[in-house]
Protein backbone atom coordinates (compact mmCIF):
# COMPACT_ATOMS: atom_id res chain seq x y z
CA UNK A 1 0.00 0.00 0.00
CA UNK A 2 1.15 3.52 -0.81
CA UNK A 3 1.49 5.58 2.36
CA UNK A 4 0.17 9.12 2.64
CA UNK A 5 1.74 12.04 4.52
CA UNK A 6 -0.15 15.26 5.19
CA UNK A 7 1.99 18.36 5.74
CA UNK A 8 0.22 21.48 6.92
CA UNK A 9 1.25 24.68 8.64
CA UNK A 10 -1.48 23.85 11.12
CA UNK A 11 -1.58 20.73 13.28
CA UNK A 12 -5.36 21.04 13.42
CA UNK A 13 -5.70 20.99 9.66
CA UNK A 14 -3.38 18.01 9.30
CA UNK A 15 -5.17 16.00 11.99
CA UNK A 16 -8.62 16.94 10.72
CA UNK A 17 -7.72 15.78 7.24
CA UNK A 18 -6.38 12.52 8.59
CA UNK A 19 -9.60 11.87 10.50
CA UNK A 20 -11.71 12.66 7.47
CA UNK A 21 -9.62 10.45 5.20
CA UNK A 22 -9.53 7.52 7.59
CA UNK A 23 -13.34 7.51 7.68
CA UNK A 24 -13.13 6.42 4.08
CA UNK A 25 -10.26 3.98 4.52
CA UNK A 26 -9.84 2.64 8.02
CA UNK A 27 -6.32 1.66 9.09
CA UNK A 28 -4.58 3.05 6.03
CA UNK A 29 -1.04 4.32 6.76
CA UNK A 30 -1.66 8.08 6.96
CA UNK A 31 0.80 10.22 8.89
CA UNK A 32 0.78 13.92 9.61
CA UNK A 33 3.38 16.61 10.11
CA UNK A 34 1.35 19.63 11.11
CA UNK A 35 2.68 22.83 12.62
CA UNK A 36 6.02 23.39 14.26
CA UNK A 37 7.72 21.31 16.92
CA UNK A 38 6.57 23.68 19.65
CA UNK A 39 2.93 23.55 18.57
CA UNK A 40 2.96 26.78 16.59
CA UNK A 41 1.99 27.48 13.00
CA UNK A 42 4.64 26.53 10.47
CA UNK A 43 6.37 23.46 9.09
CA UNK A 44 9.16 21.27 10.37
CA UNK A 45 11.31 19.29 7.93
CA UNK A 46 12.42 16.92 10.69
CA UNK A 47 8.86 15.91 11.53
CA UNK A 48 8.05 15.60 7.84
CA UNK A 49 11.00 13.25 7.48
CA UNK A 50 9.73 11.17 10.38
CA UNK A 51 6.19 11.03 8.96
CA UNK A 52 7.50 9.89 5.58
CA UNK A 53 9.60 7.17 7.19
CA UNK A 54 6.57 6.00 9.16
CA UNK A 55 4.23 6.05 6.17
CA UNK A 56 6.36 3.98 3.83
CA UNK A 57 5.52 0.30 3.61
CA UNK A 58 7.76 -0.30 0.63
CA UNK A 59 5.34 0.94 -2.03
CA UNK A 60 6.17 4.62 -1.71
CA UNK A 61 4.66 7.69 -0.17
CA UNK A 62 2.44 10.43 -1.55
CA UNK A 63 2.92 13.72 0.28
CA UNK A 64 0.27 16.43 0.36
CA UNK A 65 1.22 19.97 1.44
CA UNK A 66 -0.67 23.21 1.94
CA UNK A 67 1.35 26.34 1.12
CA UNK A 68 4.58 27.11 -0.70
CA UNK A 69 6.80 27.00 2.33
CA UNK A 70 5.46 23.55 3.22
CA UNK A 71 6.56 22.47 -0.24
CA UNK A 72 10.09 23.69 0.49
CA UNK A 73 10.14 21.84 3.79
CA UNK A 74 9.02 18.66 2.03
CA UNK A 75 11.79 19.01 -0.54
CA UNK A 76 14.29 19.44 2.25
CA UNK A 77 12.92 16.46 4.15
CA UNK A 78 13.28 14.37 1.00
CA UNK A 79 16.95 15.33 0.83
CA UNK A 80 17.47 14.25 4.41
CA UNK A 81 15.97 10.77 4.16
CA UNK A 82 17.69 7.69 2.75
CA UNK A 83 18.04 8.06 -1.03
CA UNK A 84 16.53 4.62 -1.52
CA UNK A 85 13.35 5.71 0.27
CA UNK A 86 13.47 9.24 -1.09
CA UNK A 87 13.24 7.86 -4.62
CA UNK A 88 9.71 6.64 -3.95
CA UNK A 89 8.45 9.76 -2.18
CA UNK A 90 6.57 12.35 -4.22
CA UNK A 91 4.75 15.53 -3.48
CA UNK A 92 1.28 15.59 -5.02
CA UNK A 93 0.47 18.68 -7.05
CA UNK A 94 -2.91 18.80 -5.37
CA UNK A 95 -5.05 20.77 -2.94
CA UNK A 96 -4.36 19.46 0.54
CA UNK A 97 -7.85 18.56 1.79
CA UNK A 98 -9.48 17.41 -1.43
CA UNK A 99 -6.29 15.75 -2.64
CA UNK A 100 -5.53 13.93 0.61
CA UNK A 101 -8.95 12.32 0.79
CA UNK A 102 -8.81 11.23 -2.84
CA UNK A 103 -5.25 9.97 -2.38
CA UNK A 104 -6.02 7.95 0.73
CA UNK A 105 -9.03 6.27 -0.88
CA UNK A 106 -7.06 5.52 -4.03
CA UNK A 107 -4.12 4.19 -2.04
CA UNK A 108 -6.41 2.02 0.08
CA UNK A 109 -7.56 0.30 -3.11
CA UNK A 110 -3.98 -0.89 -3.59
CA UNK A 111 -3.22 1.46 -6.47
CA UNK A 112 0.30 2.40 -7.54
CA UNK A 113 2.05 5.56 -6.38
CA UNK A 114 1.61 7.08 -9.85
CA UNK A 115 -2.11 6.43 -9.77
CA UNK A 116 -2.41 7.83 -6.25
CA UNK A 117 -0.59 11.02 -7.24
CA UNK A 118 -2.72 11.38 -10.35
CA UNK A 119 -5.95 10.94 -8.40
CA UNK A 120 -4.81 13.54 -5.89
CA UNK A 121 -3.98 15.99 -8.68
CA UNK A 122 -7.37 15.36 -10.31
CA UNK A 123 -9.02 16.53 -7.10
CA UNK A 124 -8.10 20.05 -8.26
CA UNK A 125 -10.94 19.82 -10.70
CA UNK A 126 -13.54 18.86 -8.14
CA UNK A 127 -16.40 21.18 -9.00
CA UNK A 128 -18.14 22.85 -6.08
CA UNK A 129 -20.74 24.86 -7.89
Amino acid sequence: MVGVVIVSHSAKIAEGIKELALQMAKDHPVFTAGGTQDGGIGTDPMRIQEAIENADQGDGVAVLADLGSAVMSVDLAKEMIEPELSARVFLANAPIVEGSIAAVVEASLGSSLDKVLQTAADAKNMNKE
Partner: protein
Protein backbone atom coordinates in the same frame (compact mmCIF):
# COMPACT_ATOMS: atom_id res chain seq x y z
CA UNK B 1 38.35 36.00 14.86
CA UNK B 2 36.34 32.81 14.80
CA UNK B 3 33.38 31.60 12.80
CA UNK B 4 31.48 30.96 16.03
CA UNK B 5 31.93 34.56 17.12
CA UNK B 6 30.80 35.83 13.71
CA UNK B 7 27.68 33.68 13.75
CA UNK B 8 26.84 34.74 17.27
CA UNK B 9 27.03 38.38 16.28
CA UNK B 10 24.90 37.79 13.20
CA UNK B 11 22.35 35.90 15.30
CA UNK B 12 22.33 38.55 17.99
CA UNK B 13 21.73 41.24 15.38
CA UNK B 14 18.74 39.27 14.13
CA UNK B 15 17.41 38.76 17.65
CA UNK B 16 17.73 42.49 18.29
CA UNK B 17 15.72 43.18 15.14
CA UNK B 18 13.11 40.58 15.96
CA UNK B 19 10.22 43.01 16.37
CA UNK B 20 11.20 45.07 13.36
CA UNK B 21 11.38 42.00 11.11
CA UNK B 22 8.07 40.75 12.45
CA UNK B 23 6.43 44.11 11.79
CA UNK B 24 7.72 44.09 8.23
CA UNK B 25 6.26 40.60 7.77
CA UNK B 26 3.03 41.73 9.38
CA UNK B 27 2.57 44.24 6.61
CA UNK B 28 2.99 41.86 3.68
CA UNK B 29 3.03 38.37 5.15
CA UNK B 30 1.98 36.46 8.23
CA UNK B 31 3.87 38.48 10.80
CA UNK B 32 6.36 35.91 11.98
CA UNK B 33 9.67 36.49 10.25
CA UNK B 34 11.37 38.02 13.30
CA UNK B 35 9.89 35.40 15.58
CA UNK B 36 10.97 32.62 13.22
CA UNK B 37 14.51 33.88 12.83
CA UNK B 38 14.99 34.66 16.53
CA UNK B 39 13.77 31.19 17.45
CA UNK B 40 16.07 29.78 14.79
CA UNK B 41 19.17 31.51 16.10
CA UNK B 42 18.40 30.67 19.73
CA UNK B 43 18.35 27.05 18.71
CA UNK B 44 21.51 27.55 16.65
CA UNK B 45 23.29 29.08 19.66
CA UNK B 46 22.62 25.99 21.74
CA UNK B 47 23.96 23.75 18.99
CA UNK B 48 27.01 25.94 18.43
CA UNK B 49 27.83 25.98 22.12
CA UNK B 50 27.94 22.21 21.97
CA UNK B 51 30.55 22.26 19.21
CA UNK B 52 34.19 21.42 19.96
CA UNK B 53 36.44 24.48 20.12
CA UNK B 54 38.38 23.31 17.09
CA UNK B 55 35.31 23.11 14.84
CA UNK B 56 36.25 24.63 11.51
CA UNK B 57 34.27 27.26 9.61
CA UNK B 58 32.56 24.66 7.44
CA UNK B 59 31.45 22.70 10.49
CA UNK B 60 30.11 25.82 12.18
CA UNK B 61 28.10 26.82 9.10
CA UNK B 62 26.70 23.32 8.76
CA UNK B 63 25.54 23.47 12.35
CA UNK B 64 23.88 26.81 11.67
CA UNK B 65 22.12 25.42 8.60
CA UNK B 66 20.82 22.33 10.36
CA UNK B 67 19.81 24.41 13.36
CA UNK B 68 17.78 26.83 11.25
CA UNK B 69 16.15 24.03 9.29
CA UNK B 70 14.99 22.30 12.42
CA UNK B 71 13.66 25.31 14.26
CA UNK B 72 12.61 28.25 12.09
CA UNK B 73 9.19 26.96 10.98
CA UNK B 74 8.67 29.44 8.12
CA UNK B 75 9.90 29.57 4.54
CA UNK B 76 13.05 31.26 5.76
CA UNK B 77 13.99 28.01 7.56
CA UNK B 78 14.52 25.80 4.51
CA UNK B 79 15.85 28.81 2.57
CA UNK B 80 18.49 30.10 5.00
CA UNK B 81 19.10 26.56 6.20
CA UNK B 82 19.98 25.42 2.70
CA UNK B 83 22.01 28.60 2.17
CA UNK B 84 24.20 27.93 5.21
CA UNK B 85 24.61 24.25 4.29
CA UNK B 86 25.74 25.19 0.80
CA UNK B 87 28.09 27.89 2.14
CA UNK B 88 29.47 25.26 4.46
CA UNK B 89 30.18 22.92 1.57
CA UNK B 90 31.83 25.77 -0.35
CA UNK B 91 34.46 26.37 2.35
CA UNK B 92 35.30 22.81 3.28
CA UNK B 93 38.81 22.51 4.77
CA UNK B 94 39.34 26.27 4.61
CA UNK B 95 40.61 27.96 7.75
CA UNK B 96 40.52 31.52 6.49
CA UNK B 97 38.20 33.21 4.05
CA UNK B 98 39.54 35.55 1.40
CA UNK B 99 37.37 37.62 -0.91
CA UNK B 100 37.25 34.95 -3.60
CA UNK B 101 36.19 32.27 -1.16
CA UNK B 102 33.66 34.64 0.39
CA UNK B 103 32.11 35.15 -3.01
CA UNK B 104 32.11 31.41 -3.70
CA UNK B 105 30.35 30.82 -0.40
CA UNK B 106 27.77 33.52 -1.00
CA UNK B 107 27.12 32.26 -4.51
CA UNK B 108 26.67 28.74 -3.22
CA UNK B 109 24.21 30.08 -0.64
CA UNK B 110 22.30 31.99 -3.31
CA UNK B 111 22.20 28.90 -5.52
CA UNK B 112 20.83 26.95 -2.56
CA UNK B 113 18.09 29.51 -1.97
CA UNK B 114 17.20 29.37 -5.65
CA UNK B 115 17.17 25.59 -5.79
CA UNK B 116 14.88 25.58 -2.81
CA UNK B 117 12.60 28.51 -3.54
CA UNK B 118 12.70 28.71 -7.35
CA UNK B 119 12.90 32.51 -7.22
CA UNK B 120 15.00 34.85 -9.33
CA UNK B 121 16.11 38.43 -8.74
CA UNK B 122 13.28 40.95 -8.69
CA UNK B 123 10.64 38.81 -6.99
CA UNK B 124 10.89 40.72 -3.70
CA UNK B 125 12.76 38.14 -1.66
CA UNK B 126 16.00 37.78 0.24
CA UNK B 127 17.64 37.26 -3.15
CA UNK B 128 17.19 40.95 -3.89
CA UNK B 129 19.67 41.70 -1.12
CA UNK B 130 21.96 38.72 -1.56
CA UNK B 131 22.48 38.75 -5.32
CA UNK B 132 23.54 42.45 -5.42
CA UNK B 133 25.80 41.72 -2.44
CA UNK B 134 27.52 38.93 -4.34
CA UNK B 135 27.84 41.12 -7.43
CA UNK B 136 29.44 43.86 -5.33
CA UNK B 137 31.99 41.42 -3.98
CA UNK B 138 32.77 40.38 -7.54
CA UNK B 139 33.31 43.99 -8.58
CA UNK B 140 35.48 44.54 -5.50
CA UNK B 141 37.61 41.51 -6.33
CA UNK B 142 38.13 42.78 -9.86
CA UNK B 143 39.17 46.13 -8.39
CA UNK B 144 41.68 44.38 -6.14
CA UNK B 145 39.86 45.02 -2.88
CA UNK B 146 40.38 42.79 0.17
CA UNK B 147 37.68 40.77 1.87
CA UNK B 148 36.80 43.49 4.38
CA UNK B 149 36.46 46.14 1.68
CA UNK B 150 34.45 43.74 -0.44
CA UNK B 151 32.13 42.99 2.48
CA UNK B 152 31.59 46.70 3.01
CA UNK B 153 30.46 47.05 -0.60
CA UNK B 154 28.31 43.96 -0.23
CA UNK B 155 26.46 45.47 2.73
CA UNK B 156 25.82 48.66 0.82
CA UNK B 157 24.59 46.75 -2.21
CA UNK B 158 22.30 44.67 0.01
CA UNK B 159 20.92 47.82 1.61
CA UNK B 160 20.20 49.24 -1.82
CA UNK B 161 18.57 45.93 -2.64
CA UNK B 162 16.30 46.23 0.38
CA UNK B 163 15.25 49.70 -0.78
CA UNK B 164 14.62 48.26 -4.24
CA UNK B 165 12.26 45.65 -2.76
CA UNK B 166 9.98 48.50 -1.74
CA UNK B 167 9.40 49.35 -5.37
CA UNK B 168 8.49 45.91 -6.71
CA UNK B 169 5.64 43.43 -6.59
CA UNK B 170 6.15 40.21 -4.69
CA UNK B 171 5.76 37.16 -6.90
CA UNK B 172 7.13 34.54 -4.50
CA UNK B 173 6.28 33.70 -0.91
CA UNK B 174 3.32 34.91 1.08
CA UNK B 175 3.67 38.54 0.05
CA UNK B 176 2.68 37.45 -3.46
CA UNK B 177 -0.91 37.11 -2.19
CA UNK B 178 -0.92 40.90 -2.01
CA UNK B 179 0.25 41.44 -5.60
CA UNK B 180 0.46 45.23 -6.29
CA UNK B 181 -0.45 45.92 -2.68
CA UNK B 182 2.98 44.66 -1.66
CA UNK B 183 4.54 47.73 -3.26
CA UNK B 184 5.80 50.30 -0.76
CA UNK B 185 6.87 47.66 1.75
CA UNK B 186 10.38 46.29 2.11
CA UNK B 187 10.87 42.55 2.09
CA UNK B 188 11.48 41.01 5.53
CA UNK B 189 13.86 38.36 4.19
CA UNK B 190 15.92 40.86 2.22
CA UNK B 191 16.10 42.85 5.44
CA UNK B 192 17.25 39.95 7.60
CA UNK B 193 19.85 38.98 5.00
CA UNK B 194 21.24 42.48 5.10
CA UNK B 195 21.26 42.48 8.89
CA UNK B 196 23.38 39.33 8.91
CA UNK B 197 25.81 40.65 6.28
CA UNK B 198 26.15 43.89 8.18
CA UNK B 199 26.89 42.11 11.46
CA UNK B 200 29.51 40.04 9.69
CA UNK B 201 31.13 43.15 8.25
CA UNK B 202 31.09 44.93 11.62
CA UNK B 203 32.87 41.92 13.08
CA UNK B 204 35.62 41.58 10.49
CA UNK B 205 36.23 45.27 9.80
Amino acid sequence: MTAIEAIKLAGQAIIEEKDFLTDLDQAIGDGDHGINMARGFSSVFTKIDALKDDADISMVLKTVGMGLISSVGGASGPLYGTAFLRASAACKDKNAIDAVTAKEMLDAAIKGIQDRGKAVKGEKTMLDALIPASEAIGTGIDAGKNVVECLKDAVEAAQTGVEYTKTIIATKGRASYLAERSIGHQDPGATSSTTMLKALYEYVK
